[in-house]
Amino acid sequence: MRSDDRPPGLEISGLTLRYGSQTLFDNLALTVPAGQYTVMLGASGVGKSSLLRVAAGLAAPDAGRIVATDGLPVAGRIAWMGQRDLLYPWLSAIDNVTLGARLRHERPDRARALDLLGRVGLADRAGSLPAELSGGMRQRAAIARTLYEDRPIVLMDEPFSALDSITRGRVQDLAATLLAGRTVLMITHDPLEACRLGERLVVLSGAPATPGEPVVLPGAIPRPADDAEVLRTMASLLRTLGAAA
């Protein structure tokens, strides 16, 4: 993201999505504020991933629209991080980072890719295949790829769920630091992750699903895991999620 343009937020309105006879969303409205790290939680099957896929343009809603708050279309301004790292196993780390460029028939900027790999601590693993990297390294490479795409809006679907808790903590810190200033919407099942990274928490519940009143968390992210505010919010979040389930 170039420093001169401020990222837009996301405005979801009137969203209706059906799967067969099941109505996931009926006239759902949700605002993802610009330049903030918004975390979405909710029980399995409530429709979090579907909402994110609609926002990413990967699925078409039955009704409703998703616009950027600056009035411009969302398409082409989104970077996606799916569940797991989604590195292509036949490409080296650096080729994974620059794949977007090749997919768009652009010339890959290897110098920038190397710089980004350096920022996630993988400068010396640029030529390694994903199979030669640990889970944490792979996820860091995926962050470098997301940064290479350089989009103002980043959508993440449980990106760190496959990592062990120590590695997860480190990768969360890295993501929070490197994605600062972008509009982030992340799904997670992990209340601790939500409270460490989220500047704004939204709990999705019910059928059809509706977002609860957003919880705004003060202070800079990433927050330490033993922060009193983090622990207090996590406890209340667990109560909310338990009641919603």
């Binding site: 990967l58 989604l86 196993p89 997919l103 795409e149």
Partner: protein, 250 residues
Amino acid sequence: MPKLAVAVRPLLTLAGLLAVWWGVSRSSGIPAFLLPDPGSVATALWHQRDLLAWSTLTTLTETVLGLLIGTGLGATGALAMVFSPRLERWLMPLLLLSQAVPVFALAPLLVLWFGFGIASKVVMAVLVIFFPVTAAFADGLRRTAPGWLDLARTMGASPLAILRHVRLPAAMPAFGAGLRIATAIAPIGAVIGEWVGASAGLGYVMLNANARIETDVMFAALFVLALMTVLLWTLVDRLLRRLLYWVPEG
């Protein structure tokens, strides 16, 4: 597995088979024109080396040409089917038909149409391998991990770019599996073609030797055919391993 064991195990198996064969041919009283002993087959192999070498070259040429053409057609067919469901509805019955009719039954017809030369054998080999290659490759193209496709779509890739950079590489292991099967069975097509009507090739040598009850020559030709197939398969397997450097070795 240690490297030495990998090299020694097939040799040990071969030696064991030879020993059993030798024992049976010596002690069972089966006449030599029904079951020659390994020694006389080795002698036949040596005496007929020129004939066998030339015949192997013919059969090998038919097999390799069949493999190249069959793989090319199979890959094209798979791509076409994956991209056009309508075309698939037309192609699939044809594909199944090519498998439902035994190659043996088609062989005389093919020899009649394409002659006694190498063309009819190449067509036979193509018919035999077209199905495994097409089916395996089409399956691989359809089973791209959904997450990989999603990611490429959010990166603004056209369907053609996704095919080239994601679906094709992701389908390569399945394609490799099809090609391995094809390599193992392509010589069957070629040899059946030679049995039905030919003037050269290992199948032709076998047929002639059989008619003259030269069982030792038959066995020698059979041995060379097996050796050729194993070597060809090993070569293809090595090439595929190099091409699929990123697939973990099972």
